[in-house]
């Protein structure tokens, strides 16, 4: 029987783009909660590909359309790279240095906390809180990040700390 030719000289020379990677970093898909394994191929400190992890007993190398688009999610031109600031009544975004923006936020947190501090209720029982600030977090944040959010904001006296997990 004559075997059909499935390659050419040109295709023989092709190599997978992941072949030249400097390292493969194990990761997890950031979309839904199935938790599929991902492998991140890095070359010259840039991500060159993201594949499913065949070792994962959860996903066995598979990724769905969203998971397969992770490469574009993390390397795409849609990502904003600078801190942007809209001043009160402003009509445009302005750039702001990161450190300055962090300082400005810290100042505003302090002010909101001082202005809306509630020490006791009418019965004289402790409240020790501020209702002047609130937080809403997404559910693709890391546990360690949520931990610092809860730890710092709660200690500042914030109680309106919420998450997609209720939605």
């Amino acid at each position: 029987m004559h075997a059909a030719r499935v390659s050419s000289e040109q295709s023989d020379r092709l190599q997978p783009r992941t072949l030249g990677a400097d390292r493969v970093v194990p990761s997890i898909c950031p979309y839904c909660a199935v938790g599929c394994g991902q492998q991140i191929y890095v070359k010259d400190e840039k991500i060159i590909n993201i594949d499913g992890d065949p070792n994962s007993p959860i996903s066995k190398g598979c990724l769905c359309p969203k998971g397969s688009a992770t490469f574009q999610l993390v390397t795409g031109s849609h990502r904003v790279r600078h801190v942007l600031y809209r001043r009160p009544f402003g009509t445009e975004w302005e750039r702001l240095p990161l450190e300055q923006a962090m300082d400005m936020v810290a100042d505003r947190v302090m002010r909101a906390r001082e202005l809306a501090w509630e020490e006791k209720n009418q019965k004289g029982d402790p409240l020790r809180r501020t209702m002047g600030m609130a937080h809403l977090g997404g559910a693709t944040l890391d546990n360690e990040e949520n931990y610092l959010i809860k730890k710092l904001f709660t200690t500042l006296g914030m109680v309106q700390i919420e998450n997609q997990a209720r939605i």
Binding site: A33, V80, L96, L115
Partner: protein, 848 residues
């Protein structure tokens, strides 16, 4: 599941190849239906009627797993003589207080049970059910024949006696023959030899009776003996990478890490009182003080000692429901005290209900911080929004200061996600983030550093907490990134002296010698090794795969797995063997980490006066509950009834066929001009049922998908799905435009005329359902109106979740008007269409 969790669905297909029957219950025909053995179209909002019908079938036909039910559930417990069922009171349970709009639950208790220590503080809060653990008391009287009319089993039987197949058809639109196929399949696939699993998503939770939906499934699964056994259970298919983690280490108002409640004003004034009210009198939650002290030690270090209640006074106190709906409603009010709002990795103007009200809230703020990968609608609310487009609001009139911080992606930071089966998996940083992009860990750590510096010299007592806060995480790299591993180590816990890592939560102490940021995660860093980063290939270990990642608690993969063995500790069957008692070794053993004290024999019975975990008998498979039993009937912990009851959604095309009480009487409403409701049923202006959902190619509010060309190309435009019958009736064309409206607003979309959505025939009436994916917004590569502009603020009373899966709407052919209908604009909406009984729960802050 094939649509929204495609890779997880491969296991369902594997099961099918091995002979399992796959049943798909969903208003729309999806990729899941296409490969299921049976698709059951259902009217959105009617699942309790359907599941209640199944419970009735199981009870009437004696299909329940009698030995399991007798040993592991509260079926035989005798309930108070005062209790009256919804059958007796036309849809209300006993204890309804019309003037307060809530239940007094005293009559729901077990007969002769003593009053719980925290019984007085329960009613003021929504929050996690069962949070006031000291209210739980074991039953005093039992009838193991299950014949006593006051026993749970008989109450259950009466409660669901009218949920007949005919009633299921009338309410849910499921024909009796289809219903019977489902009922037979689950009964034939449950028992000693076989198990049945239920999987659900937000289609079950985003309802004004959301918690009771899950309770109905839990009752059914307990009756069939399907909890704690391989192939059984109720699986929440959650939609975000670490949404489970966001509950475990909660950024939720009512919880501290590890499901410890937040302090409640006037009810938890001191640490001692806090512990007393939240510790159970029996079962595992007697350990509560150990976890609370260890948490406070982790947060406040040396400033946490016995003399100051371990630093308890640094924590703020709750005075009611501070959930996001309440917060946003407050923000959108005229007298809001909320100055600032942090939104991190979330897009509420698209993903949360009533977009117009969400944006009104944002306009009232002094400042808003948004952190995300792309420029999402929530950050752009001041210049790109329907009310700006229509000219109702002008950008230059909005005072809110907005900060947009670009976020680092998961590939640019270390950390753990907790997936939907409680599995923590570490993702390693692959590259540095570009430009000013930073992780939330970086943002929070450096914000904390700044605030600690600003408060360092303060002598104000209210600043002592922030001064004492332990915040010494090592940093590294070009951006001074804090070490996520150091944070995980603190979450895991360590000995205060010497810093040795604690291997398991049973070694935590209440004497201040241990620190632990989240007790259920204790062990994730055991032996100083990051257990969550374990990646032993699946094919090199057992089918349970215990060496891939780490599952809480204690790396246990199936919760309540003591129930996989019979009361004597033997597997129910060889086929479903999982965890069992090894008499020779005198210990529990098996495929998984046993969910039970390892050396406690099945025959153990607590001695008189036993305390703490000694109260857990050898057959208490549900040892977190004080009586060790699975809860068929819940005397405590729920605000809307000890048993699930079919109530119609806030807005329904039909009247409640079972009771005079139309909706969940305890639901939370925000009845105001900017959040108008329709008539409760048959509102002629809004005759169609509406449901919302996801599609495979996009992700929730779109922040991670609408900016990606690959995904946008696959699903380029917002659309609605309607049946050919409705299309004909309304003159709407496939591929054309339609305008969908509610009292909150109107949106336009392309139309997909499809048999995937079928009209339901309910007792001669035809109900049309309209389906809307909710991913789109005004920004991104592919744009469209947001479905959630249509949805009202309505909440489940137990957990304050929004009702967005079942409401009513109108649809007309053609595009919307240029100045679209905005909430509250049309006169006469407010209150004018209400015909509900005066039985509703209005959220208000308790007296402070």
């Amino acid at each position: 599941m094939a649509e929204c969790h495609p890779v997880g669905f491969q296991w369902v297909m594997n099961a099918k190849r091995r002979g399992a029957t796959i049943i798909h219950v969903d208003p729309r025909f999806t990729r899941t239906s296409a490969v299921a053995d049976l698709h059951v179209p259902i009217r959105a909002g009617s699942d309790i009627a359907f599941l209640g019908g199944l419970i009735r079938y199981v009870l009437e036909n004696d299909c329940y797993f009698r030995e399991y039910v007798l040993s592991y559930t509260n079926a035989s417990a005798i309930v108070s003589d005062e209790f009256r069922d919804t059958e007796d009171l036309d849809g209300l349970f006993s204890g309804w207080e019309t003037e307060n709009g809530r239940y007094n639950i005293e009559s729901w208790q077990y007969k002769d049970a003593e009053k719980g220590r925290a019984a007085d503080s329960r009613e003021m809060f929504t929050g996690e059910a069962f949070s006031e653990r000291s209210t739980q008391h074991a039953a005093k009287h039992f009838d193991s024949t299950l014949q006593d009319p006051k026993c749970v089993f008989q109450i259950l039987k009466r409660h669901f006696q009218r949920y007949t197949p005919e009633m299921v058809e009338e309410i849910s639109g499921i024909p009796p023959e289809t219903f019977e196929k489902v009922a037979k399949a689950i009964c034939n696939n449950s028992g000693r030899e076989r198990t049945t699993a239920f999987c659900y998503s937000v289609g079950w939770t985003q309802h004004s009776v959301g918690v009771q939906y899950i309770r109905t499934a839990a009752i059914l699964q307990l009756l069939l003996g399907n909890i704690g056994r391989p192939g059984g259970g109720i699986m929440a298919l959650r939609g975000h990478a670490s949404i489970q983690g966001s509950t475990d280490i909660p950024t939720l108002y009512d919880l501290l890490p590890g499901y410890l409640p937040m302090p409640k004003a006037s009810h938890n004034t001191s640490f001692q009182e806090y512990c007393e009210k939240n510790s159970a009198t029996a079962g595992w939650w007697t350990e509560f003080p150990k976890y609370a002290v260890s948490l406070l030690k982790a947060w406040y270090g040396d400033a946490s000692y016995e003399g100051n209640g371990w630093g308890y006074d640094y924590l703020p106190h709750l005075t009611g429901d501070h959930s996001h709906m309440t917060t946003v409603a407050d923000m959108a009010g005229d007298a809001t005290g909320i100055k600032g709002y942090f939104v991190m990795g979330e897009n509420p103007t698209v993903g949360s209900m009533n977009g117009a009200l969400q944006r009104k809230g944002l306009r009232n703020l002094e400042w808003l911080v948004v952190r995300d990968l792309a420029m999402i609608e929530t950050a752009e609310f001041w210049r790109k929004a329907p009310e700006i487009e229509s000219g109702d609001i002008k950008t230059q009139d909005i005072a809110t200061e907005v900060f947009f911080f670009p976020a680092a992606a998961h590939t640019e930071k270390d950390g753990t996600f907790t997936n939907t089966q409680r599995l923590l998996q570490w993702h390693h940083k692959a590259v540095e983030p570009p430009g000013d992009c930073r992780s939330e860990l970086h943002f929070m750590y450096h914000l904390g550093q700044r605030l600690k510096a600003r408060y360092a010299e303060s002598t104000d007592p209210k600043d002592r907490g922030i001064q004492s806060l332990t915040w010494a995480y090592p940093t590294s790299g070009p951006n001074d990134d804090p070490s996520a591993e150091a944070v995980l180590r603190e979450i895991n816990g360590y000995e205060v002296r010497g810093g040795k890592v604690i291997p398991r939560f049973t070694e935590l102490k209440a004497d201040g010698s241990t620190a632990c940021g989240c007790w259920i995660y204790c062990g994730s860093y055991a032996d100083g090794i990051n257990q969550t980063a374990r990646r032993k290939p699946g094919d090199q270990q057992t089918w349970v795969a215990p060496e891939w990642g780490w599952a809480w608690p204690a790396n246990r993969r199936i919760l309540y797995n003591r129930a996989s063995a019979d009361p004597d500790g033997r597997p129910w069957s060889e086929r479903k063997k999982y965890v069992w008692w090894d008499e020779e070794k005198h210990e529990w053993t098996g495929e998984d980490v046993p969910d039970f004290p390892k050396d406690r024999p099945p025959s153990y019975r607590p001695p008189e006066g036993a305390k703490g975990t000694d109260t857990i008998a050898g057959d208490h498979a549900f040892m977190l509950n004080g009586d060790g039993k699975g809860v068929l009937y819940a005397p405590n912990g729920l605000k809307d009834g000890p048993l699930p009851t079919h109530y119609e959604p806030q807005e329904s095309p039909v009247q409640n066929a079972l009771y005079g009480q139309q909706c969940n009487p305890s639901r939370i409403e925000w009845d105001r001009k900017a959040n108008p409701y329709h008539k409760a049923w048959q509102d002629k202006r809004f005759p169609y049922a509406l449901t919302t959902y996801r599609i495979t190619e996009h992700h929730t509010a779109g922040g991670m998908s609408r900016w990606l060309a690959w995904l946008s190309e696959l699903q380029p435009e917002m659309f609605c799905e309607i049946s050919p019958e409705l299309a004909r009736e309304k003159g709407i064309e496939n591929g054309g435009w339609a305008t969908i409206s509610t009292a909150r607003g109107e949106i336009e979309s392309r139309v997909l005329v499809t048999e995937r959505l079928r009209p339901l025939r309910m007792k001669g009436r035809v109900i049309h359902q309209i389906g809307l994916p909710y991913h789109w917004g005004s920004e991104g590569l592919v744009r469209g109106d947001s479905a959630n502009e249509l949805i009202a603020f309505v909440g489940d009373p137990n957990v304050s979740i929004q009702e967005s899966k079942a409401l009513t709407c109108n649809i007309e052919p053609g595009r919307r008007t240029r100045s679209r209908l905005l909430a509250g604009r049309a006169p006469g909406f407010e209150g004018a269409w209400r015909d509900l009984p005066e039985a509703r729960n209005k959220p208000q802050r308790e007296e402070t």
